[in-house]
C-alpha cells in the first residue's frame, strides 16, 4: 500500500459483503437494532472510534517512516 489514505477495498464492497452474510444467515438488522441497549451502543461506539484512531495512527507512522 503506497498511500495510507487508500483503502484496500472499497467501503461499498465490504458493506455488501457484510449485508449478504447477515441475510444469508437469517439475521434481521432491524431486529438486531432493538436488541442493543442505548448505553451499550454508546460504549461500542467509543471503542470503535478508539480503534479507528489507533489504526490511523499506525498507518500514519508507517507513511511517515517511508517519507523520511
Amino acid at each position: 500500500m503506497s498511500d495510507s489514505k487508500q483503502q484496500p477495498l472499497n467501503n461499498k464492497v465490504v458493506e455488501v459483503m457484510v449485508k449478504t452474510i447477515l441475510r444469508k444467515n437469517g439475521v434481521q438488522p432491524d431486529e438486531v437494532k432493538n436488541n442493543i441497549p442505548e448505553e451499550q451502543k454508546q460504549m461500542i461506539k467509543e471503542m470503535v472510534e478508539d480503534l479507528k484512531k489507533q489504526v490511523e495512527d499506525f498507518q500514519q507512522n508507517q507513511a511517515k517512516d517511508k517519507s523520511e
Binding site: 500500500m1 495510507s4 483503502q7 484496500p8 477495498l9 467501503n11 465490504v14 458493506e15 459483503m17 457484510v18 449485508k19 452474510i21 447477515l22 444469508k24 444467515n25 437469517g26 439475521v27 438488522p29 438486531v32 437494532k33 436488541n35 442493543i36 451499550q40 451502543k41 461500542i44 461506539k45 471503542m47 470503535v48 480503534l51 479507528k52 489507533q54 489504526v55 499506525f58 498507518q59 508507517q62 517512516d65 517511508k66 523520511e68
Partner: protein, 187 residues
C-alpha cells in the same frame, strides 16, 4: 554488525486451537458406470448405500462449507516475518526497521471488537457462530515476509525496511467492523 529478527504470530481467537479443514479439493475426474466423467461422487450412480451417498453428494455440492466444520474455526491468521541485515566493512550506516508488534496487537483488538459486536447483536448462538465464521473467513490469510539485506564496503547509507502487509489487513478489518456497526445502526 548483523541484525536478525524473526517473529511468528499465530492468532486464533476461537475457543482453543481449532483444526482447519479444507473441503473444496478437486477430486480427479473418473469415469464410472454411467459412462460420464464425474468429479467426486458420480451423480448418475444409483445408490447402493443410501445414507452414505447422500452425505457425500451434499458434501461436494453444498457450498456452505462452514456447516461441515466443527465450529472451531473462527479467525486464523498466520504471519511470519524475517529480517536479516548484514553490514560488513562499512561505516556510518543507519538501519531502521519497523516494529510490527503494535500492529499485531491492534489486529487482535480489532478481531475482538468484531466478535464483541456480533456477540451483543445476535442472540442466537448458532446463528452468531455462522455469521462470525463467515465474516472472518474473508480475511483469513497467511503472510510471509522475508527480507535479506547485505551491505558491503559502503559509507553513509540509510536503510529502512517495512512490512506493509499488516497495515493492509488492519484497514480491511476496520472496514468490516465499521460496516457491521453501520448495519446495526450503532454509528
Amino acid at each position: 554488525m548483523t541484525i536478525y529478527r524473526h517473529s511468528e504470530y499465530d492468532f486464533d481467537l476461537s475457543r482453543g486451537k481449532g483444526d482447519r479443514y479444507s473441503y473444496f479439493m478437486e477430486e480427479p475426474l473418473r469415469s464410472c458406470s454411467c459412462g460420464h466423467s464425474c468429479s467426486g461422487k458420480c451423480s448418475n450412480e444409483s445408490s447402493n448405500r443410501p445414507t452414505d451417498t447422500r452425505a457425500e453428494s451434499d458434501f461436494t455440492s453444498n457450498n456452505n462449507a462452514f456447516e461441515m466444520q466443527e465450529g472451531t474455526e473462527l479467525s486464523f491468521m498466520d504471519q511470519e516475518s524475517a529480517e536479516l541485515i548484514w553490514v560488513k566493512e562499512s561505516c556510518n550506516i543507519t538501519v531502521s526497521s519497523t516494529d510490527t508488534q503494535i500492529g499485531v496487537s491492534l489486529q487482535a483488538a480489532l478481531q475482538l471488537a468484531i466478535a464483541l459486536v456480533l456477540n451483543i447483536s445476535i442472540a442466537d448462538g448458532t446463528q452468531r457462530d455462522a455469521v462470525s465464521q463467515e465474516l472472518t473467513q474473508n480475511f483469513n490469510m497467511a503472510q510471509k515476509n522475508k527480507q535479506k539485506i547485505f551491505i558491503y564496503n559502503t559509507k553513509d547509507a540509510v536503510v529502512t525496511t517495512r512490512d506493509t502487509d499488516l497495515a493492509l489487513n488492519l484497514q480491511l478489518m476496520l472496514q468490516v467492523l465499521v460496516a457491521l456497526l453501520l448495519l446495526v445502526e450503532i454509528l
